[in-house]
């Protein structure tokens, strides 16, 4: 179908954008790349009064890395732009995850932060942002605030953002030394939505795991951490602990069955994707030793 009628504005500043959202009383939507929003409009799942396009706002395409290895992405950074940056910088987790997002054309226009704000429970960046301690900078009519990604997702396609708020940037803490990170997922075909996926970062202290962070997609109403897996790994000898730790994921998930996979299938595939991500992260952590 063709999208429903709406009015359109492409303001030059974040302030104007939040004012427009505020004055619409929650009946306007933010447009970044539109790769989730436009299909929803075409299916008439949404009938917003207005779209507020962020494309004219300066600085939202920036990718900046500071001295503390914090990576800041603006709201208009595309999957593709981050994929290229990560590939140049050898950031394996980001490279792994980006390759699973849609196909080339979607990655060229769709944005990382747009995907987070869309809050699809099976979207790759959700797990990545949870593993890398993502923090969103959120602008609203009352000013700016910071919101940890853990506090962003409230349910499938739902976030804690108010209707007049915009995520203007996302800060990720890139893995420190002696840490390996990786992403793995299972999907019917390349580029399809993930049935289940896992992001993992493993820090080593000698042969043992000093700390591990694991996050999941497609296995709960929102992307989520896997605290049971993390606890099972911490302090264990890395090479022997992975399979058992991956099995602990059953305590961390609440999968549903749908056309892409039954609940039972998701329960069986969850430890598989966790183990794959952990094994790959471990190899990278071992390669990262000074």
């Amino acid at each position: 179908m063709k999208p429903p009628r709406f009015s359109y504005a492409a303001p030059a500043t974040v302030r104007e954008a939040t004012d427009l959202l505020d004055s619409s009383g929650g009946r306007a939507r933010v447009l970044a790349g539109g790769q989730s929003l436009i299909p929803m409009l075409r299916h008439r799942l949404l009938e917003p009064e207005a779209l507020i396009d962020l494309r004219r706002i300066d600085g939202l395409r920036d990718i900046c890395l500071d001295d503390a290895r914090r990576l800041r992405l603006g709201a208009m950074v595309t999957h593709h732009a981050l994929q290229r940056w990560a590939s140049d910088q050898g950031q394996d987790l980001l490279v792994d995850a980006a390759a699973h997002i849609g196909h080339h054309s979607v990655r060229a226009i769709g944005t990382v932060i747009g995907s987070l704000a869309h809050a699809d429970p099976s979207a790759e960046w959700g797990a990545v942002a949870l593993v890398l301690d993502g923090v969103c900078r959120v602008a609203g009519p009352g000013g700016e605030r910071e919101l940890g990604v853990e506090g962003l997702f409230t349910g499938p396609y739902s976030t804690s953002l108010a209707g007049s708020e915009i995520i203007t940037s996302l800060t990720l803490s890139l893995p420190p030394s002696c840490t390996g990170a990786a992403f793995s997922e299972v999907a019917p075909r390349p580029g399809d939505p993930a049935v289940a996926g896992a992001a993992a970062a493993v820090s080593l202290d000698g042969p043992c795991v000093e700390s591990a962070r694991v996050a999941l997609i497609g296995l709960a109403p929102t992307p989520c951490r896997a605290p049971s897996v993390e606890a099972a790994l911490s302090g264990s000898e890395a090479s022997v602990g992975i399979e058992a730790a991956a099995q602990a994921v059953e305590n961390d998930i609440a999968p549903i069955g749908d056309i892409h996979g039954s609940e039972e299938y998701r329960r069986r595939v969850a430890p598989v994707v966790v183990a794959r991500a952990l094994r790959s992260a471990l190899v990278r952590a071992e390669g990262d030793r000074p």
Binding site: M1, K2, P3, P4, R5, F6, S7, Y8, A10, L31, G34, Q35, I38, P39, L41, R42, H43, L51, D53, R55, H80, G102, H103, H104, S105, V106, A108, I109, R189, P190, G191
Partner: protein, 165 residues
């Protein structure tokens, strides 16, 4: 009442000033208003790739872009690549390899593969995996892809796309 906005679109190197409804999709502007009939609309939800254009040089499905979003960006359709040596070579390789049947998906496939082959050194052609991965963005219900992959590999190896017998 229909609200329209004024946009200037740069299509195949030519600027077009248009009044459009904000909800108007780029693919519809290109096909209906500009009569660029290489733009084929299949799924209209970003899956089939028949409407693929280059947006600032990157392949993009024009069915998932509002015309207003494309303002200030360079849009290239298959018509705009007519006579380009890489495209001519790719088209010749498609011809030799019987890489199309009904032809509906072909313009999108050509534009997508063009962006993979453009500026590529023939001595370092893309791998078959790269070609197949790129074709994830195009649905073809006739060819089974094998002949398209063969054509793309031939075009990549020869640079001009045409191999003398």
């Amino acid at each position: 009442m229909t609200e329209t906005v004024q946009v200037t679109l740069l299509v195949n190197g030519v600027e077009h000033a248009l009044a459009v409804e904000p909800r108007l999709i780029l693919a519809d502007v290109l096909r209906e208003r500009m009569e660029l009939h290489s733009i084929h609309l299949g799924c209209e939800e970003g899956i089939c790739g028949a409407c693929t254009v280059l947006l600032d040089g990157e392949p993009s499905t024009s069915c998932l872009i509002l015309a207003v979003q494309a303002e200030g960006r360079s849009i290239t359709t298959l018509e705009g690549l007519d006579g380009d040596p890489t495209m001519t070579g790719l088209q010749a390789a498609f011809h030799e390899n019987f890489a199309l049947q009904c032809g509906f998906c072909t313009p999108g496939v050509l534009v997508n593969l063009f962006s993979l082959l453009e500026d590529r050194d023939p001595s370092a052609p893309p791998s078959e995996v790269e070609v197949r991965t790129r074709l994830n963005g195009n649905l073809c219900r006739c060819t089974g892809y094998q002949s398209m992959v063969a054509a793309a590999m031939q075009a990549a190896r020869s640079g001009s796309g045409h191999e003398d017998p």
